[in-house]
């Protein structure tokens, strides 16, 4: 009897303990301590780094503290912290070095800093989500790459007055001038639109700086996510960091290098025809390549790898010898990089921008999630010193969560991290064939994470009840194929993802009013009768499924979009947050534009009553949706 009582008591205690643990986990998830936006603001988060022309100063672009921090390059002492706009993303010096231009990606402005006084002397409006800026050699024009408007805005360099906008790749983000300044090379982080389930297509947009026109678009086949580009000083070698996703095959072969190749595309007279070379090696992946620098003597290429938390060093003569003696392609060849990657230098969390000293002896690397700058001695390929930027000494849960989000260390052989597909915590514009639904089944579009809090259940089919499930077991089992997160890390990660706030909506007027077209569209969104006076059943109104501030009632329904490859037509009502940015659409990404949701994929009016609408009314509806 006593044995039975002990057994029952033990079982009861175990259940209670489990319940307590579950409650504690739930409580931590739902009642985070200091888990708000202000928590993130404490950190500097250096994203890019520059040296003054004389090498005496270091400029660090700090994204979270929204500053340019100016340091003495010899002593690393702080000279000044200069406040700029919201979420700065890119900066560069003027041709003469007397001005520093900073793109503020969340308030769509450009800060102009006088490098003599270290004061902001002008703030100019630019395009949507400016991410990089370059002045031409003559000091006449500024070129600004805008991620949301996918263009390069051309401004008068003295007045900031806009001259024109040049179409670039989708998610235009990074600009690099050629060594002679005659050309500007723009890269972009989301692939250009292409037919459903075909290889992604990207480009390097080439701009003639004298005429300010696009003169070429260098194709990057099967590439999605193109970052910094660099030239050798003689202009004969160009290299660009990029992701080569393998999204057309089931994501079931991480153990065979089956998710991404992390690559460089090389071009220029030294190379001849453009060629893509992998940086990965078995068990030593170069996850999330981002920044590129080429040594002044063209002996080395340095690439920051944000997910692998290291700098990959490439021997250029060996690289050129390899590509000239081995016929491409070798993107998938994990043995290729051993021919030219000479070392990998561990740095801090999420290394991003980098710059070389003029003599090439020092390499400065901005470790975004460490608030440090690694100074690498390029003769020894070792970190000679680490500059700690002022900021909190402890890591908040959100900071730890962000580190967990960006690192690739949790995945099998360190191949990928959350941020590999959710670039800069957003999305990648790709569709994927995930394993759990069966090979070739349930193709899914990758979704934006911002505003994800409170939109459970997750996955397109609503199969995951909450973020801990979505980010934990599902991710570990089907993506990482490796170790599990510990509870604390998972909590950190979930809190970080939950805290991702939507970026400012560029289609809303200041003050929140709607344009006449948006007003008409809102009326259509909320209507309860069709144009013939017939009542629209509540469940078939836009505003029913896409209700609430985030545009989802969080319920599962069949809106007639099931494809032959889908196991079920039941889907969760997708949130509408930042819907204008996140093409392609529908669960499988088959709709390339918002229009196609209704012009192609709603023949039976099951995805809302829309077939009574005229074309201009459908345009109005879309204008309204863009404000969400």
């Amino acid at each position: 009897m006593s044995q039975r009582i002990r057994t029952w008591c033990g079982a009861g205690l175990a259940v209670m303990a489990a319940a307590l643990l579950t409650f504690a986990f739930w409580f931590a998830i739902n009642h985070p301590v200091r888990a708000d936006e202000s928590d993130m603001q404490d950190y500097a988060s250096p994203l890019e780094v520059l040296l003054s022309p004389d090498g005496a100063r270091i400029y660090a672009l700090c994204q979270q503290s929204e500053e340019v921090r100016v340091l003495d390059a010899a002593s690393f002492a702080v000279i000044k912290n200069i406040a700029v706009g919201r979420v700065p993303r890119g900066f560069s010096l003027s041709a003469s070095g007397d001005r520093l231009f900073v793109t503020n990606s969340w308030d769509d402005t450009l800060s102009v800093i006088d490098t003599g006084t270290l004061a902001v002397i002008a703030t100019w409006p630019v395009g949507a989500e400016p991410s990089s800026v370059v002045e031409d050699r003559a000091g006449k024009r500024l070129f600004v790459a805008n991620r949301i408007s996918s263009n390069v805005v051309v401004l008068d360099a003295q007045t900031g007055v806009e001259e024109k906008r040049l179409i670039a790749g989708r998610g235009a983000s990074y600009l690099t001038p050629s060594p002679d300044g005659s050309r500007l090379y723009a890269t972009h982080i989301f692939p250009n639109p292409s037919p459903h389930r075909t290889a992604p297509e990207s480009e390097i947009t080439v701009i003639d700086t004298a005429r300010a026109v696009v003169v070429d678009r260098m194709p990057l086949h099967a590439i999605a996510g193109v970052f910094h580009l660099a030239f050798s000083p003689d202009g004969r070698l160009g290299a660009v960091a990029e992701y080569h996703p393998k999204n057309l095959v089931p994501l079931a072969h991480l153990e065979h290098g089956g998710a991404f190749a992390d690559t460089l595309t090389l071009f220029g007279a030294d190379v001849g025809k453009m060629v893509e070379v992998p940086l990965d090696e078995l068990e030593r992946y170069a996850s999330q390549p981002f920044g590129v620098a080429i040594a002044p003597d063209k002996s080395r290429i340095y690439v920051t790898c944000g997910g692998s938390e290291m700098v990959t060093v490439v021997d250029v003569p060996r690289l050129l010898r390899f590509i000239h003696t081995h016929p491409s392609p070798y993107t998938q060849d994990l043995s290729a990089s051993s021919n030219y990657v000479v070392t990998r230098i561990a740095v801090g969390h999420n290394p991003r921008g980098l710059t070389l000293s003029r003599d090439g002896r020092k390499l400065f690397v901005a470790n975004r999630l460490d608030d440090t700058i690694s100074v690498i001695d390029t003769r020894t390929n070792r970190v000679a010193s680490t500059i700690a930027l002022a900021g909190p000494k402890t890591l908040s849960v959100l900071r730890k969560g962000e580190q967990a989000f960006y690192t690739a260390r949790f995945s099998f052989q360190g191949q990928i991290g959350c941020a590999t597909c959710h670039i800069d915590s957003t999305f990648d514009g790709l569709t994927w064939d995930l394993e759990p639904d069966g090979f070739g089944r349930d193709i899914v579009d990758n979704k934006m994470l911002e505003g994800v809090k409170g939109t459970e259940p997750y996955k397109w089919n609503g199969g995951n009840p909450n973020l801990p499930t979505e980010c934990g077991p599902r991710t570990e089992k089907y993506f990482w194929r490796s170790e599990n997160y510990d509870d604390r890390t998972l909590t950190d990660l979930v809190l970080y993802v939950r805290g991702l706030a939507p970026r400012p909506n560029r289609w809303r007027l200041p003050g929140g009013e709607l344009t006449p077209a948006q007003e008409r569209g809102k009326a259509l969104f909320e209507r309860s009768q069709d144009k013939f006076g017939k009542p629209i059943p509540e469940s078939n109104r836009c505003s029913y499924c896409h209700s609430g501030p985030k545009g989802t009632n969080q319920k599962i329904s069949d809106v007639g979009t099931r494809k032959p490859t889908d196991n079920s037509g039941l889907l969760k009502a997708a949130p509408l947050t930042s819907i204008a940015l996140t093409a392609p659409y529908l669960h499988d990404g088959s709709a390339r534009s918002l229009e196609e949701i209704w012009t192609l994929y709603n023949p039976d009016d099951k995805h809302g009553r829309t077939n009574d609408l005229t074309k201009d009314e459908l345009n109005d509806l879309i204008e309204y949706l863009r404000t969400r």
Binding site: I167, V214, R217, R592, E595, L618, N619
Partner: protein, 354 residues
């Protein structure tokens, strides 16, 4: 008496023989067809872009550069093989092509296509396109529309929000002050860029087959093309052409002008006084007083140029070349040269010194 008549006739004939016709531009035409690089002989539209020439054909968009043709097709993401209209964004160098299957933008070799299914474009049959500032103005078979390149917003114009009666829109000419649409069966629509208001010009007699009130308004409702230059509107119809200076109309018909035909496919003003008329019976040039017509002879196909002076005297000019065909569909200018789209080839008119 008989002798006097003979002398008068002789003198008259002598005066005619020795009266010099007005000096009108002469060209040596070099013609391009499938035999020398064009993808198709049926050329709907032509656009001069510096040293590059774009030809919208029935079978692709061809570009002539460095003495060689390159063709873009639907395999290159062109919206449709038949390219009806072309426009250049002079600031960016982008070319816009209106096709039978949508609107395409050609930028640095990349083609983005907008259709009625994937975008806010009102209809896939794009007869006309014109770029002004940040706006692309489009004429389609189901109304007009505008794409704002800053906001990506499409605004449609049709019978519900303009005075348009028919929605078959054939041509468009956009300038910083006014935008004009040629609406087939509904005259001309005018959009004032400053006020955002629409106005309309119709044939005042309302007769589709007759001209009862010449010079009192637009010559006909069946408008095909418009060109607004130097504050002058040049309008083409299938039943004659018109010039409007904001106050007065002046109409052109074969019976009282040098037009070779009242059936005009396309019109392009050079300035307030001069214009080119692309008709089914040849290419006509009007310098404000005199006319010149360039075409293969309608009788024997031999090159032909005629000049008509202010008094109506028509003088043949000896030429050895002519546009590829008399059915003219479009024209553009390259300095003093002209490029002409015809139903059977593209012609480069090289200006000759006189």
């Amino acid at each position: 008496m008989k002798k006097i008549c003979m002398i008068v006739m002789f003198l008259a004939a002598g005066m005619l023989a020795f009266a010099a016709p007005p000096k009108m531009p002469r060209y040596r035409f070099e013609n391009f067809t499938t035999s020398n690089g064009l993808p198709d002989n049926h050329v709907y539209s032509v656009l001069v872009d510096g040293e590059r020439i774009w030809a919208g054909t029935e079978n692709g968009l061809a570009v002539y550069e460095n003495h060689a043709w390159k063709t873009y097709t639907t395999k290159d993401d062109l919206a449709h093989r038949a390219v009806l209209s072309l426009a250049l964004d002079k600031r960016t160098g982008d070319v816009w092509a209106g096709t039978m299957g949508g609107l395409s933008r050609i930028s640095g070799g990349r083609i983005d296509s907008f259709t009625q299914l994937n975008s806010g474009l009102s209809n896939d049959v794009v007869y006309g396109v014109s770029v002004e500032g940040e706006n692309v103005w489009v004429a389609t078979a189901a109304g007009a529309c505008r794409l704002d390149l800053h906001t990506d917003q499409w605004t449609l114009y049709n019978e519900r929000n303009t005075p348009m009666i028919e929605i078959w829109v054939y041509g468009v000419s956009a300038t910083p002050t006014k935008v004009y649409y040629a609406v087939w069966g509904s005259g001309i629509l005018e959009y004032d860029q400053k006020t955002g208001r629409w106005d309309k010009y119709e044939d005042p007699d309302g007769e589709t087959e007759m001209v009862l009130f010449k010079d009192q308004g637009l010559i006909h409702e069946i408008t095909t093309s418009v060109s607004y230059v130097d504050d002058i509107l040049w309008a083409a119809t299938y039943f004659g052409d018109s010039r409007y200076d904001g106050r007065y109309w002046h109409n052109f018909l074969t019976k009282d002008s040098g037009l070779p035909s009242n059936f005009t496919n396309f019109i392009k003003g050079v300035d307030a006084q001069r214009a080119w008329f692309c008709t089914d019976k040849g290419l006509a040039y009007y310098d404000g007083v005199n006319w010149a017509v360039y075409r293969p002879s309608l009788k024997d196909g031999k090159p032909e140029m005629t000049v008509r002076d202010a008094d109506g005297n028509v003088t043949p000019v000896a030429v050895t070349t002519a546009p590829a065909h008399n059915y003219i569909l479009g024209i553009d200018f390259q300095g003093d040269d002209i490029w002409v789209a015809t139903a059977k080839g593209l012609s480069h008119g090289i200006r000759q010194q006189q």
